[in-house]
Symmetry: C2
Subunit: 415 residues, 2 copies
């Protein structure tokens, strides 16, 4: 008996049949004696539908009105889910973020949650009701509706779990578990029974789009156990995400991922003087562009080459900002490389074990895959390689670090 937060994404509530299925998953937890709070995303492609409608009207929709528009999607799915729970004979009530009091900063389209009021939630839980909450949305203290950005419903779920001191936060998705690599490209990818928050975070950042990084960060900060599981296989425990200190076993490398959505930009021959990097990356951050890998190398005649990667959707705005910076700095030129993929190995276990980086480079060399750029953190090593060799590189590394599951393919058929 405890509080369980469950989150169901858009594909899990895509139509009325699937919503009934979700109602069963919810009722299963409730019948186990738990107090249940459910967070839902908008139905299937309904958010895309709304975004297209806006696109028919304007190419530059106002951020505030966009939040107003798309936050209507969760209102639909949550009301329908509450009805489906009623229909099955159980008490339920749906609540908008504004009704719960999910307070965010006053930023539209990608607000961060700053507080979750628990008064109304606790009142309904004390009346033994299942509570269905609209994910992805929040409200500012001025009463403006905000949205949390991509994957925001995961963050809503974790924030509710933290506020209610929930025992568990289960994220239901369209995969059965977190895998050591993307099963679409790595047939021998194996299931992870457990993965640590920091590994999950690094995996999320390098293209394993199972969970939104911000939700994992928050769960890590407040030590809320998360579980990734499938709404179509309710008996499958999925993958548990916990602190490194709570992990039963850990391997040096727990996952391999490829991110093909980045481009590399280099500014060549920047005169060597203090504050250069700050000027370049300050200008980008002011324009809200996230930079990933950064490398600076000193060339001969006292000039630097600075290279970094950004998401390809930010390429044009990055270039226009950078051209101004280049002229001011007197740098020679800007070079763009589109043909890259970032391959990363992630593992909390690599901290104590030397030689992991060397093994990674060796594995790529064995396949004759050229490395264009390298970046390392405590639990992750990333290399840029040619885009078309990305999956080959992932498979080689997956095998090198003994992650292959020889029985995996049979398991995948059941997915």
């Amino acid at each position: 008996m405890g509080i369980v937060v469950q989150k169901f994404g858009g594909t899990s509530v895509a139509d009325s049949k699937k919503i009934k299925n979700v109602a069963n998953a919810v009722i299963k937890e409730y019948k186990n004696g738990n107090q249940v709070v459910v967070v839902v995303s908008a139905m299937g492609h309904s958010t895309d539908y709304l975004i297209n409608l806006a696109g028919e009207i304007t190419q530059k929709p106002d951020n505030r009105e966009m939040d107003m528009l798309i936050s209507s999607g969760e209102q639909v799915s949550m009301a329908l889910l509450a009805m489906a729970i009623h229909e099955a004979g159980y008490p339920a009530v749906s609540l908008l973020a504004s009704q719960v009091g999910i307070l965010t900063e006053s930023v539209h389209n990608r607000a961060r949650i700053i507080d979750v009021k628990t008064e109304k939630l606790e009142k309904h839980l004390s009346e033994n009701k299942i509570i269905v909450v609209a994910g992805f949305q929040g409200i500012t203290k001025e009463g403006e509706i905000t949205t949390l950005g991509r994957g925001g419903s995961d963050t809503s779920a974790v924030a509710l779990a933290v506020a209610l001191k929930a025992d568990r936060c289960d994220i239901y998705t369209d995969v059965r578990a977190v895998y050591t690599a993307d099963p679409r490209y790595v047939p021998k990818a194996s299931r992870l029974e457990q993965v640590s928050y920091i590994e999950m975070l690094e995996l999320a950042r390098v293209g394993a789009n199972v969970l939104h990084p911000r939700s994992v960060e928050t769960a890590n900060q407040f030590n809320v156990p998360m579980r990734v599981r499938s709404s179509f296989y309710l008996d499958d425990p999925g993958t548990l995400i916990i602190g490194v200190e709570d992990m039963e076993i850990y391997r040096p490398v727990n996952g391999v991922a490829a991110d093909k959505s980045q481009v590399r930009i280099a500014i060549l021959k920047v005169p060597d003087q203090p504050g250069i990097a700050a000027r370049i990356f300050g200008a980008l951050s002011k324009n809200n562009i996230s930079v990933d890998m950064i490398i600076q190398s000193l060339e001969e005649d006292n000039a630097n080459n600075i290279a970094f990667t950004v998401d390809e959707t930010d390429l044009n705005s990055t270039l226009s900002i950078l051209e101004e910076v280049r002229m001011n700095l007197g740098a020679k030129e800007i070079v763009v490389d589109n043909d890259i993929a970032k391959i990363s190995i992630v593992g909390a276990g690599m901290i104590d074990r030397p030689g992991i980086a060397a093994s990674m480079f060796e594995a790529l060399a064995e396949q004759n895959i050229n490395i264009k750029m390298i970046a390392t953190s405590e639990i992750k090593i990333s290399c840029l390689v040619e885009k078309e060799r990305a999956h080959e590189a992932v498979r080689a590394l997956h095998s090198k670090f003994e992650l292959d599951d020889e029985n995996a393919e049979a398991d995948k058929v059941k997915l």
Copy 2:
């Protein structure tokens, strides 16, 4: 220079092209120097779509969750309209009923507005913004979302006009004006330049579905001039709805309408004793069934026949309630007549002019149309006739009371 409230129904905002058209209508008022508050309904058939979704999940949706579900529709149209106004280069902000503070009673599906807060509206108006408000919805003082029932957006518009002491409340709809009869059945129906609140109210009640009666009642109570007009003919002034005392001219009869949605129920041979009618109609009203015409006639052996009409959608529930009442009262039997249409003539001018009823009966007799039941009020006379002769009856009365417009057909082509 004044405050104008404009209301656009679902057909006026059915797609992005129509929403842009509405933006033009709004901007036209704004450029005339007015402060503009716009009330919108949900897009086209979107409410039906949501109701169908609910129907796929349950046959008995919870009223609260139904309000949660369908109130999402206005959120979409209002955000899109605000975007379209921005796109045309004018300032706009959309507000939900909860953000404005449109307070209603704590009843779901057909709540009445009890107060409209003006603070937020006045703040945005003082910043010269066009305000787009979600129609049809409200909020209780406990923060629950309610809806106002059929035609509720008209009521939202009038309530906002009253609260803001607006100079005008323009209801844009898919007709160009209010006509003396339904132009689909009466080719010679003529436009009304002006009509009084009480006439409009009676016309609405007898099947001229241009405006929701509650909105007209409210406008009458607070003396807000309403105008019915077309969003596709912005230069057409439509029909002005004002107090009888403000009308420039008035005819004894201003409109003829047919309502084919009623059935007549009769309880035969009810023993004559006090309180019988109260018992019958008390039982119906307790079950929220609206009764329209009521006639009681004293038969020979101290027994009454009581006949009345209800909307055909209420027939089954009426019969089951009535059967119990019949047994308790010892009445003989219950008889249902489905084959009826209620034909009404409406006119504030009939108060001072005798002989209007006689002319009505005469006109029907001339066509050999049998009258099954008669009811009169100060400004309306209604007769039940056979359903299949309804339109013929309307045309005969329209002609009798000199409402025919010989040039009307040419005008109608332009509709």
